[in-house]
Each structure stands twice: as structure tokens, then as C-alpha cells.
Amino acid sequence: MTAIKKILIANRGEIAVRIARACHETGITSVAVFSEADRSAKHVRYADEAYEIGPAPSVESYLVIDRIIETALQSGCQAIHPGYGFLAENPALPAACVAAGLIFIGPDSKSMALLGNKTEARKVMVKAGVPIIPGAMEPLKSEAEALAAAAETGYPVLLKAAAGGGGKGVRVVHSKEELPSAFTRAGAEALSAFGNPDVFLEKYLIEPRHVEIQILADNYGNVIHLNERECSVQRRYQKLIEESPCCMLDSAMRERMGRAAITAVKASGYTNAGTVEFLVDSSGDFYFLEVNTRLQVEHPVTELITGIDLVKEQIRIASGEKLGMSQEDIGINGAAIECRISAEDPETFLPSVGYIRELVEPAGPGVRVESGISADYDVPVYYDPLLAKVITWGKDRKEAIARMLRALDEYKIKGIKTTIPFHRKVLVDSGFAEGNYDTGIVTRIKHNRTNDYLEISAIAATIVAMNDENVDFVSDVKQDDRWKLSGRMYGGIRSI
């Protein structure tokens, strides 16, 4: 067992802050790294120490393994936490850590490489008896091979980056006419996002549910699962809303899926926290999708229903401690739900970068916010659009949803567009409210607008427009007084 006193966090944004918070609570010194664009970012200000590691593009900073290892060594860290994204699923990082005498807070390089290679992972699962989705077991070498594999499983098919995850580099192809250009694009995206152009193909299940199992595995062969998360609210394979427990699972099915997840983890020699993702069809059959060999974006929903701090557990496992709990200790307390708040237009999902000039985060009973932003912050164009996450807890699912709707109403991020209005639409959708939904839900959600607040909004727009245009809409108040008044109202601060 190695005492970890100082951790380098090889990430940015909300997850870097999340990890620094766990360090703060456990007396561990946190070390942030940052690109030139991130000098004033929240994770830099939050950590105890912070070191610049290169220019804004992540290939020149957050993805440079040597620079990160060097920074960890020079600052006296014992361990590196990769967060999610960036290097989190790159087996070269744990390998470099071992070579440098550093602890990698995650699995070892070998099991990460095995599970990161989707085709190899599928082979292991087949051998261990975990059900998988039909498809090609090897990366596709050519368009011709892709066409042949698709013909065998039958359309629609999915093209997926072998090194991918998190919905990046995933494309659905409905016909052989679409396949050639989709194959080219998927390869290019895979190369750009993960540095590896390999793409493989599998049968596309029509609107299944996405259900995943959180696991914890120590270095002594002890593996437990921390229940499931339902992540079917997705758009282009990007999760948007996650919850636990899943409405579809009863305790028997939960136990079956939990056992399958533990089998998958043991078969691959995996340790630390990880997630086994499954697709579940309408008959309740589930298929292994992949193992995410890292902390998930959506890990807080599991934390809220189990009371377990997953980042602290990751650190404890990495330092060589045995799991402090067994499967019987893991219960389900109430229900939790997460909405990912991204800098995207809520209807087109186009990125919306810019300057955040007002920020009010939700609070109160049952509301947890994990955020990488702050007021007076310029959202950079270089990185993922995920700004923050809201997670709510309720004694039951209905209360968790009611609290989420309240939280979304309280959330104010001014200056850029965000996905907050999108989440409201999903939460009030009757299918979602009843728990009866699948990965097709987003395309079915209507973006209907009510006209209930048209008049009040028009009044507000008029008054602000008059103010903007400096229209002197009163004769009895002098312009000077008006500005003095405004100055007072904004507390002596106003736009220049």
C-alpha cells in the first residue's frame, strides 16, 4: 500500500474540479495542469497547485503524455488521475506512469488496452459467456470489407471507432448507399478524436435501452457492482440524461446484469472503478456493449443512491487498499437523475461558445451541481462542450424529476446557449415521466413552445431594447438620473 499524498489531475473542466474536491476532502494535495487557454479556468483556481503544459489545442497540451508525467514528477506527485476523455482510455498513460514510478488511478495498461479494443473485448466476453451484439469482430480494413460485414449482419448497422467512447465516432448506417461516405467520415473522426482510425461494425438494435453497471474492483480480486444507470436519453450516441435506478429493472434482472458485469470485469483482469455498458431490448435481453475503463460523466447518480464517493474509492483502490465493502452493503436509497449542461443550441445542438456574463447555479434540497465554469468566463472553442452537470436526488423517481425541473428553472447561464431548455422538454415528456423510454426518445421529443409567456416576454424585450438603444422613453427623468439609477441597480457595475 502506497500512501497517496499528492495527485496530478490530467484533465480540465468539471471533472478536474470534482477530483480536486475529493482530494480536498481527504487531505491530498491536488495538482492541476492547464493549457494556455485555461489559465483562469476553474480547475486551475481550485487545485492547490497548477502548471501550464502547452498551447490551447489538446494535442499540444492535455494529450501530451510526456509533459504530464514530467509535471507529476517535478511537482512531487505520487499518482495521476485521468478523469474521463483526453488520455483516460489511452493505455500509454498507465504504461508511462509505471515506467515513471507513478500510480495511475485506474486500471493497468494491459486490461485497458484489451477493453479499449472493442473487437478484442468482444472476444473476451464471448469466451466468458457474456452476451454480445452480432457484428464484425475485427476492425474494418476497407470499404469493401465494411460492405461485406454489413451485408452479413443486415442493415441498419453501426460504425464505431475502435478506440472511441462517449458517443464520439459512432455512426448509424441505414443502407449500402450510405456506407462508403459514412465509413470515410467515421475513420477521419476516429483519427482526429482518438489518434486511431480503426472502425468496426455491429448490428444496430432499433431503439434499445442503454443500461450500464457501475463496478468497483480492487487489486485483490474483489469485485462489486453499485447498481445500474439508465442512459437511454442520447443524441448521436452522446448521453444527455442518466438516472438510477432504471425503471425497467427489477431486482432479479439487476442481479443478472450485475453478475454479467462482474464476470466481464473479472474476465478482463480489470481493476479500479469501471462501467460495463449494455444494450437492453424490449424483451429484456441484454447485450454487452463495452467497458468504459474510467470514471463516467454520470457517476454522481450512483453516488447519490449508494452514498459512496466513487473518486475517493478510486484513490483508495489505487493506493492498494482492499474494498471496504461487500456486495451486501450496497443498497439503493431513493432515486437520482443527471442532466448534462452543454454549450450547445438546445434545438440544433450546434456548439455555442462565448463569454458567460451571468451564472446562477441551482441549489436547495436534493440538488447537486458539478460545474467547470464560473461567471465572467470565456468558454473556449477547443474542448468538449460539457459545462456542468445537475444531479438531483429524491426519495423516489417522481421527486427526483420534480427537483430536476426546479433546478433547471433556477439555472441561469447567460451569454451563451445551453441545453437547459432541451432537458426541460425531455423531463415533461410523458414517456420519460412514466419511465417508458428508449434510445429513440430524443428524436420523438417535441420542441413545442407555449405562448403563455409571449406577452410578458414581449414587454421585457421592448424595455430592454429601449434601454439598449438609449431611447429616452420618459420626459420627467433626466438621462443622467437614469444612468445613476441603473448604476445603483447593477450595484455600481455596468457594461462598457
Binding site: 461558445v353 416576454s457 414581449a458 414587454i459 421585457a460 431611447v471
Partner: protein, 169 residues
């Protein structure tokens, strides 16, 4: 002075005059489509108004995106053009017929040009790929026609609103 406020579907005629300035709010008389009301406005920040109307409390956020006012209240979002009687205050310029200038919907990096200058394209056809926030976004032709100019090239960074290509039909 009366203003015309339009969200594309509805057109409201709004007239506002200040009745009273108080320490914590301003009272306005507002006439909407001929009906008069008194509203209390408290400016929480330049983009955030607290409005009381008939006892109802509204937190209204008003943001300007380009030439439109985007108003958010109670979870609903409206986008308005606001014009006054004397002159156009803010409005979209009508598109020049037959010639469309497609601009960048967000800042990003042009990673691929899929068409060449002079090429004939169909509406919806991909013309170039813009990468931002790690996502590749295909920018498509809004109408069928001929590409008569692509002032960007692969590898170039563009800002929101920069011209990407021109289509003539």
C-alpha cells in the same frame, strides 16, 4: 412610442412609458395591443429583470444574440425582432434573392471542403465540415444552386458569422 415585437408567428404592438422611479423598482405603464397595464420592473442585472404584473412574479432574462432579443422566462424561450414606429431598431435584413451567403454558425476549424467553387449542389448537400468543441459539423447547402465562392480553406479557423460559402440559384 410604440414598438412592434415579432417572434415570427405573432406580432405584438407594445408601448411603454415610465410612471415612477422608486428605490427598488420602476413602474411602467405598458400598453399591449391596446390593453393598458402597470408593471413593476426591477433590474437584477443588465440581462435579468424581475417583473411583477398582476401580482405574477417573472424572472425574465433578456439576451441579444445578433439582431434578435432572446427572452427566457419560466422555461420558455422566445426570440423577438423589435422595431419602433420611427425607424427600424433591430431587424433581419431580407436575403438578396438568388444569392445566399452562408456564414459560420459557431467559431471553429474548417477541416474539410467537400465541394469546389463553381460546382452545382443540391439543397442539403454537405459543402464543408467545421470542427468545434471536438465535434465535426457538416455545413450543408441551404438551397440548390451553384457555389460561387468559398472564401475559406481547410485548416482555417473561423469566427461566428464569418462567411463560409456563397450559393447562387
Amino acid at each position: 412610442m410604440a414598438f412592434e415585437v415579432s417572434d415570427g408567428e405573432h406580432l405584438l404592438k407594445v408601448e411603454a412609458s415610465r410612471l415612477e422611479v422608486r428605490p427598488h423598482d420602476e413602474l411602467f405603464e405598458v400598453e399591449v395591443d391596446g390593453k393598458k397595464k402597470v408593471v413593476s420592473i426591477s433590474w437584477i442585472s443588465p440581462a435579468h429583470l424581475s417583473i411583477l404584473l398582476d401580482g405574477k412574479s417573472y424572472n425574465v432574462e433578456v439576451e441579444r444574440f445578433g439582431k434578435k432579443y432572446q427572452v427566457t422566462t419560466r422555461g420558455e424561450i422566445y426570440e423577438f425582432a423589435v422595431t419602433d414606429e420611427r425607424e427600424v431598431v433591430t431587424t433581419e435584413k431580407p436575403q438578396a434573392g438568388g444569392r445566399l451567403v452562408v456564414t459560420a454558425p459557431m467559431p471553429g476549424l474548417v477541416v474539410e471542403i467537400m465541394c469546389s467553387d463553381g460546382e452545382k449542389v443540391e439543397a442539403g448537400q454537405g459543402v464543408l465540415v467545421l470542427e468545434a468543441m471536438k465535434m465535426q459539423n457538416e455545413i450543408t447547402a441551404p438551397a440548390s444552386g451553384i457555389i460561387t465562392g468559398i472564401p475559406v480553406e481547410s485548416g482555417v479557423s473561423v469566427n461566428l458569422g464569418d462567411n463560409l460559402f456563397i450559393i447562387e440559384s
